[in-house]
Symmetry: C2
Subunit: 236 residues, 2 copies
């Protein structure tokens, strides 16, 4: 009972698509590579899985090592890429993860990374990313766009407590659309098991104070619970 010798032994990498919303724009966490291949080129944070390590552990470890960010949100596997033709060093399988994060944290470059920074998604799409990271990024963004429709995952971009307007701006940034504040308010607050009203209100706002909400205690981040969902406008 052993693994057949014909089986290929492959290095396994993890790459993490970390998204956040800053200044009402969707941004991705990138690093400039300190080592070849693609030295100096921007890339998704990531690295190789070590012996006796899970891919989730590798993703968390690499994220801390390269960017100083400790995954605060929900880490979700996207899919795997490769192993053929994606790394000039030879066949490598990459397992990609998606992390949606509030934007408190300022990345600081660590080991193997010259720089670590948030980049506007529009700019990132113009950038020539290392490896097949442009494809991985596109898949991650599409997953995030689809998932906030029918899961409470949009709250992962917000701090613990937030207003309906803040939540709406998350949806607007991720989908790249403008939403009617009045209709959004109705849908968000009337969707069962999505939001919980703290009973408190904001103070520093320009107009009428907004009620402060948090994620409903019955909402489980990962699963699909929004019924009815908050659907993207058909224009997308």
């Amino acid at each position: 009972m052993s693994i057949p010798p014909s089986a290929a032994l492959l290095p396994v990498a993890v790459d993490i698509v970390v998204l956040t919303v800053r200044d009402q724009r969707l941004c991705v966490l990138l690093v400039d590579r300190g080592l070849p291949p693609f030295q100096g080129r921007p890339a998704l944070p990531g690295g190789f899985v070590l012996a006796d390590e899970s891919t989730e552990q590798a993703a968390s470890r690499e994220l801390v090592e390269e960017t100083g960010l400790r995954p605060p949100g929900h880490l979700e596997q996207l899919r795997s890429y490769g192993p053929v033709g994606r790394d000039p060093r030879g066949p490598t399988l990459s397992v990609a993860y998606l992390l949606l994060s509030p934007s408190f944290e300022v990345p600081r470059p660590g080991r193997d990374a010259l720089r670590a920074y948030w980049l506007d998604l529009e700019d990132a799409r113009q950038t020539d990313l290392a490896f097949d990271h442009a494809q991985i990024l596109a898949d991650g963004v599409e997953r995030a766009r689809a998932k906030i429709e029918y899961s409470p995952l949009a709250t992962a971009f917000c701090p613990e407590e937030f207003t309906i307007a803040e939540l709406r701006k998350v949806y607007e940034a991720v989908w790249g659309v403008e939403l009617d504040p009045r209709n959004f308010h109705r849908k968000a607050t009337r969707t069962p098991r999505f939001l919980a009203d703290t009973g408190r209100v904001t103070s520093e706002s320009a107009g009428r104070p907004a009620s402060i909400y948090r994620l409903h205690p019955d909402a489980r981040m990962a699963e699909a619970v929004l019924q009815p969902p908050l659907l993207r406008p058909a224009s997308l």
Copy 2:
């Protein structure tokens, strides 16, 4: 420029969830394993990726070798599993694929497989599958259930040409519900770019002959195009 020596070198497996609809029931393709580990136990078809081979190629190859079925439908990656704690031989990463197939083909066991057979999903869920294949199967079924809502993928279970009633029975089998034939007919035929009427009708039916449809030429199997989608009843 070389892969760091600390990187683990892992055997990479592929496992394929092949689903079909037989006798109005959702069935999965299983093999009884001819070799340890889990010798004699039912499992998803699959095997190890060889050198210089893509995981898609490995999936197709293993499917033919173990079951004699040549993928006719749409092969789609589910996600990866492992590498920790899923194979008694040691760390192994598995990339799982989903294939939706019409049920023409009769599997015949080949290399490493004692038997290859379609098993009713309900029975498969009672079965003690090898490795983590119960989880992979559950994920594959859930992906199929979700995907036929907003993609034309349900037609992958049908022959080239089919009637609305046949398509409805696919939805009923995959979702495990009964659908109103009249409402389903209206939704299926009025969804743009989903079905194309061949202009011909069935002859051997019991009642009024049914129009024969095929997938609309503009429909791309993989992408989400059904607008509006064919939603699952809320009871699910």
